[in-house]
C-alpha cells in the first residue's frame, strides 16, 4: 500500500534500532518517553517496539485513548437515555466500557436498543430514516474525532432534524499534557506526540508547552519507522539538551494544523472543564456545546445529568493512564480483568493500554 509500506521497511527499522542503541549507550540516566496517543500504544505493542528498545529507554503509555478516559457517569447517562426510549448511537468500542452498574453492552443484552456507527454520519442517516425516534450520538473523543462528531449537529441543523442530538465528553490533549507535566510524582522526559490529533491542532500548538516545561515534543506518525525515528529525534534532543517541537509527520501535520476543522469546531463548541476517568477534573480540558446550541445537547434535551459514577476500586486505570504503573503491575490484569470481561476502561478499547498489553504480550520490562 502506498504511503504505508515505505514506513514499515525492516532494513530501515534495523538501522534505526542500531542508531537508537548508539544514542542510548551515551545516556547517563534512563529516559522516560510518554506516547500520549492510544493508536501509538497499539502500534508499539503490535510491532514489539517496546521489547526491541535498549533497557534504559522506557516507553510509557499516556491518557490518549478516548474510550479509556470516559467517565463511568457518562456511560450511566447513556444507559439512562436508552431506558427513556432514546436510542444511543455510538462507536463500537464504547459498548463494553463499564458504567457504575451497567454498560451499553449489558443494556443491549437485556433488550435495549443501541446502534453502532462506523461514522457519525451513520447517526445522521438513522435519524433521517426514523423521524419519530430520538437518536443521541455519543460524542467522545480527542480533537481528531471532535470535528466528525460535531458534524452531527451541523447536519441536524442543515437538514432540520428534530430527533438528533449529542451527549458530549470531548477531551483536549494540551491541558492533559500540562497536568501530567505538573504532577511531581510523574517524571516524563519527553512526549511522543499524537499523529492525528496534531493534524488538527498543528505542530505549533506544542511550542509554548515545550518551552514552559522544557520537554522535547516529537510528532510522529503511526507506522513503525515513524515511531522509531521519533525516538531517535527525542534521544538526540535529550543528548543535546534541547526542548523543541519536532514535526516528523510533516506528510500530514502542518505547522498551523487543520484551520478549517478548528473553526468548524469553534462554531459549535467552547472550552470547558472535563472529568477524566481515573485522573479527575482537568481544568479547561474539555469542550461543550455553546449555549445557543444547547437544544442539541442530549443532557439538556432529555434532562439527564452526567454525574460522578462509581467504578471498581481495585482498578488502577488512573495510574496506568498517568504512566505510574504498567498494566501487569495491576493485580487484576489478565486474571480477573480481560478484554472479554473488562473491569476498567483501559481493557476495553483495542487502543487501551491494558488491552494492548494483554493482546501483544504481557512480559514487559
Amino acid at each position: 500500500m502506498k504511503y504505508v509500506d515505505e514506513f514499515r521497511n525492516s532494513d530501515v527499522a534495523a538501522a534505526m534500532l542500531c542508531e537508537i542503541a548508539k544514542l542510548a549507550a551515551a545516556l547517563d540516566k534512563p529516559v522516560n518517553i510518554m506516547e500520549v496517543c492510544g493508536s501509538h500504544t497499539m502500534a508499539i505493542a503490535r510491532h514489539g517496539i517496546r521489547e526491541a528498545l535498549p533497557a534504559n529507554i522506557n516507553l510509557i503509555s499516556g491518557p490518549g485513548c478516548p474510550v479509556c478516559v470516559t467517565e463511568a457517569g457518562y456511560i450511566d447517562a447513556a444507559v439512562e437515555l436508552g431506558k427513556q426510549g432514546v436510542v444511543p448511537a455510538t462507536f463500537g468500542d464504547m459498548l463494553n466500557v463499564p458504567g457504575s452498574k451497567s454498560s451499553l453492552a449489558k443494556f443491549r443484552a437485556e433488550g435495549g436498543r443501541v446502534e453502532i456507527c462506523y461514522s457519525p454520519d451513520s447517526a445522521v442517516e438513522l435519524a433521517e430514516k426514523a423521524p419519530n425516534t430520538q437518536i443521541v450520538f455519543l460524542a467522545v473523543g480527542f480533537e481528531t474525532t471532535v470535528g466528525p462528531a460535531v458534524s452531527v449537529i451541523d447536519s441536524s441543523i442543515n437538514k432540520n432534524l428534530g430527533n438528533l442530538s449529542i451527549l458530549t465528553a470531548f477531551k483536549q490533549i494540551m491541558p492533559a499534557l500540562e497536568a501530567l507535566s505538573s504532577d511531581p510524582e510523574i517524571r516524563i522526559d519527553s512526549f511522543l506526540c499524537p499523529a492525528h490529533v496534531s493534524a488538527i491542532i498543528g505542530a505549533d500548538a506544542y511550542k509554548p508547552f515545550a518551552e514552559k516545561y522544557r520537554i522535547p515534543c516529537v510528532i510522529a506518525g503511526f507506522e513503525p519507522l515513524d515511531i522509531l525515528y521519533g525516538i531517535i529525534g527525542i534521544l538526540k534532543q535529550i543528548q543535546a539538551g534541547t526542548a523543541t517541537v519536532e514535526n516528523q509527520y510533516s506528510r500530514v501535520v502542518k505547522a498551523e494544523g487543520n484551520v478549517r476543522a478548528r473553526s468548524f469546531i469553534n462554531t459549535y463548541l467552547e472550552t470547558a472543564d472535563a472529568w477524566w476517568r481515573g485522573i479527575g477534573i482537568i481544568p479547561q480540558s474539555g469542550l461543550s456545546l455553546r449555549q445557543e446550541f444547547e437544544n442539541y445537547d442530549a443532557a439538556v434535551r432529555f434532562d439527564v445529568k452526567i454525574q460522578r459514577g462509581d467504578q471498581d476500586k481495585r482498578c488502577q486505570c488512573g495510574n496506568v493512564l498517568k504512566g505510574k504503573i504498567r498494566p501487569d503491575q495491576c493485580g487484576m490484569f489478565a486474571n480477573v480483568c480481560t478484554p472479554e470481561n473488562p473491569v476498567g476502561p483501559c481493557m476495553v478499547s483495542s487502543e487501551g493500554t491494558c488491552a494492548a498489553y494483554f493482546k501483544y504480550g504481557r512480559v514487559i520490562g
Binding site: 515505505e6 492525528h196 501535520v253
Partner: protein, 81 residues
C-alpha cells in the same frame, strides 16, 4: 477508532462527500473538514471523515531521510569491522 491508512480519493460528489480507496477497499468519505481536495489526492480518514490531506512531497522527503540513515549506519558498521 483512529486507525488511519492514507486513502486515495477516487470520486467527489455533491454535498462534499466522496469515495476513497486503498488496497482494493473503497469507502464513503465525508470531505466537510477539508478546504479543498481533488480526485487523486491521498487523505487521512478518521471515523468516515477526511481530516487532512497527505503531502506527497513531504512523504518523499521522509523516505529519503530514512534511506540516508541506512547508508550512514551501514557505513559506520563497515568502519567498525
Amino acid at each position: 477508532m483512529c486507525l488511519a491508512v492514507p486513502m486515495k480519493i477516487i470520486e467527489i460528489n455533491e454535498n462534499r462527500t466522496g469515495i476513497a480507496e486503498s488496497g482494493g477497499v473503497s469507502r464513503k468519505v465525508n470531505l466537510k473538514l477539508l478546504d479543498d481536495c481533488a480526485v487523486g489526492d491521498y487523505v487521512i480518514i478518521h471515523a468516515g471523515f477526511a481530516i487532512e490531506k497527505l503531502n506527497e512531497e513531504q512523504a518523499a522527503k521522509s523516505v529519503a531521510l530514512f534511506d540516508e540513515l541506512v547508508q550512514v549506519m551501514s557505513g559506520t558498521q563497515v568502519q567498525s569491522r
